[in-house]
């Protein structure tokens, strides 16, 4: 009796791991396949796509071509500048607004909160026609500034929503104690609230970063010029141009994948904690 019970338990545990492992494999092997083939010669890519690179098949020709034929480093630094700047500004001003909404009782508070929440559900892309007009009339076409401004607007609604939920839970005593000591509202925000919100700030940073870094749409319509291309657009254009050069295509994909994978592996814990903590309700 007890034996069958145990055996059943082991069997089902084995099945569960089999399901999870096969799904994990399904999720990873395409990425893995591209990465290993980017380190192979053209012949080897076609002869045996599933093999790991070895002494005879190893080749960096794809990477050489990519670095010669495109401005990968420029694309990369463009993406970095846009993402980091947009993130810092949107989190800072988002936190300020979230604080005002969660702390102060003023006329129209609820209405303003709803107004700022519209952007969570309605995608900013739908306003693209007018955004392009606006960017042209501000003389910002083909500038990183245009992208940064749009991405700030895109990131703000969710940042404000998550942070104001979080800030509502900061104990009132802390703020009131500070107020009794005569601390100014600005100091309360910058020296008490902001540091206390660090875990939530980390979460919103990761949430907001991914769509900005990966976006194709706005770089394509607002800043398609060679000088302002982001990595996603750069890769897309490069591959469109060298579509038959498999070494270059695989190498450019690998170059685009690796930094994200690295970053993800470093921050996945924080990201997953952010999601599972119920930050997104």
């Amino acid at each position: 009796m007890s034996h069958t019970h145990r055996a059943r338990r082991h069997l089902s545990a084995g099945m569960i791991h089999a399901i999870l492992l096969s799904y994990t494999l399904l999720a990873l092997w395409p990425i893995f396949l591209v990465i290993i083939n980017s380190f192979k010669s053209r012949k080897a890519i076609f002869r045996d796509p599933l093999a790991l690179p070895n002494e005879t098949s190893f080749s960096l020709i794809g990477f050489e071509k990519v670095l010669i034929n495109s401005d990968f480093l420029l694309y990369f630094s463009n993406s970095l500048i846009v993402t980091v700047t947009a993130l810092i500004i949107s989190i800072l001003i988002g936190a300020m607004a979230a604080w005002a909404l969660s702390e102060y009782d003023f006329k129209g508070n609820t209405l303003l909160g709803l107004y700022l929440a519209i952007g969570i559900m309605i995608p900013i892309r739908l306003g693209s026609v007018s955004i392009l007009n606006l960017v042209v009339s501000l003389d910002l076409a083909n500038t990183l500034t245009a992208l940064i401004l749009v991405y700030i607007a895109q990131a703000l609604p969710l940042i404000i929503f998550i942070l104001s939920e979080f800030m509502r839970q900061i104990p009132t005593d802390l703020k009131e104690a500070a107020r009794c000591d005569g601390v100014s509202e600005y100091k309360i925000f910058f020296q008490i609230i902001l540091p206390l919100s660090r875990p939530a700030l980390g979460t919103v940073a990761v949430f907001s970063m991914v769509p900005i870094w990966n976006d194709l749409w706005f770089p394509l319509i607002l800043a398609p010029g060679e000088e302002t291309r982001t990595i996603t657009l750069g890769v897309q254009q490069f591959i469109g141009q060298y579509v038959t050069d498999w070494n270059s295509v695989l190498a450019s994909l690998t170059l685009a994948i690796l930094p994200i994978l690295l970053l993800y592996l470093i921050f996945s814990r924080q990201l997953i904690r952010g999601i599972t903590a119920g930050a997104v309700k």
Binding site: I16, H17, I19, L20, Y23, T24, A27, L28, P30, F46, L50, I93, M96, A97, A100, L101, Y104, L112, L116, G119, M121, I122, P123, I124, R125, L126, G127, S128, V129, S130, I131, N133, L134, L149, V150, A153, L156, P157, I160, S184, E185, Y186, V210, W213, N214, L216, W217, L220, T232, V235, Q236, I239, W246, L250, A256, I257, L261, S268, I275, T276
Partner: protein, 303 residues
């Protein structure tokens, strides 16, 4: 209160300004533009419903519009039928008690979600390409070689294939959200059910599932909004023309083509704005339906 409240507005102003200028104003202005006509010199003139009449009445517009809209619903249906059930299944498995390696599975399965849609599109394009033959080779290995087809190139299968690529990439999102909701179901409840004699199966369907219904509804509406806003994948894999023969055209790619033009047709900002307004309406109906009908009916149980 007579206390000085200027700090409130200083806290709010930067966010409200940027958000209003780059998000709300363009949305409203796009709707406004959809009622205008643009001459060849670029002058705008009020045109009433002309653009809408064209979009619905002129076969040159209405055929691609309905095609894109219907394709988009198919795209959404594939996500609802494949992505979310798989996400639910994975989440249910991941939340089983005493599972070893939970964290690693979670992290690895979520990985593709982090990559750019463009990159994922290219990766699958390569894998499915008959030139490279990876997919074909793999299928021969398991004896299914006869069934291989250049799915992305066939009118009948391209959209489904693209949907599945998108499902493959984003399955991590429903998985994580549902997993988080399952974690929030207090352990006491599952233990009480265990003592009541329920097995894992009935604990899941009779205790946990009813409690996470609000999350499942939320996942569905997020999927809806994301699907009707999709563009990158189609553009990366199929370009502006959403081929073959527009069989993969969805609202996002139709919008882009209308706005910027393609081949011989010139782009039209006002028609673009009209299409964007229609997308806005579709999304708005979906979101309102969710908020008014579904979310209200589902009671969130205080756990």
């Amino acid at each position: 209160m007579t206390r000085n409240q200027s700090h409130i507005w200083i806290f709010l102003a930067p966010a409200v300004l940027i958000y209003s200028i780059f998000m709300i104003y363009p949305l409203l202005d796009s709707i406004r533009l959809s009622f205008y006509d643009q001459s060849e010199t670029g002058d705008l003139s009020f045109a009433g419903l002309v653009n809408y009449v064209a979009l619905f009445g002129d076969p040159n517009w209405s055929e691609p519009f309905w095609n894109a809209l219907i394709n988009n619903f198919k795209f959404f249906a594939m996500h609802m039928l494949v992505q979310n059930p798989i996400g639910l299944l994975l989440a249910a498995i991941l939340s089983l008690p005493k599972l070893s390696g939970r964290g690693s599975y979670r992290t690895l399965i979520f990985m593709p979600t982090m990559l750019s849609v463009v990159i994922i599109g290219f990766i699958w394009q390569l894998i499915l390409s008959p030139l490279w033959g990876v997919a074909e080779g793999l299928m021969w290995n398991v004896g299914l070689g006869d069934y291989y087809n250049a799915w992305l190139g066939e009118e009948g299968s391209a959209l489904i294939t693209l949907s599945l690529i998108s499902v493959w990439q984003f399955v991590g999102i429903p998985m994580m959200l549902i997993y988080a909701a399952l974690l929030n179901v207090p352990e006491d409840l599952t233990e009480a059910a265990l003592i009541d004699g329920a097995g894992h199966w009935s604990i899941f369907w009779r205790i946990k599932f009813p409690l996470i219904l609000p999350t499942i509804a939320m996942v569905s509406i997020l999927t809806f909004v994301a699907n009707f806003n999709a563009f990158d994948l189609i553009y990366a894999v199929k370009g502006t023309l959403a081929g073959p023969n527009f069989s993969t055209d969805i609202m996002g790619s139709f919008f882009y083509r209308t706005f910027f033009g393609f081949q011989l047709q010139l782009g039209s900002p006002t028609m673009g704005a009209t299409v964007a307004t229609m997308m806005f309406l579709v999304i708005l109906i979906g979101v309102m339906g969710y908020l008014l009908l579904i979310q209200r009916r589902l009671t969130r149980y205080s756990l």
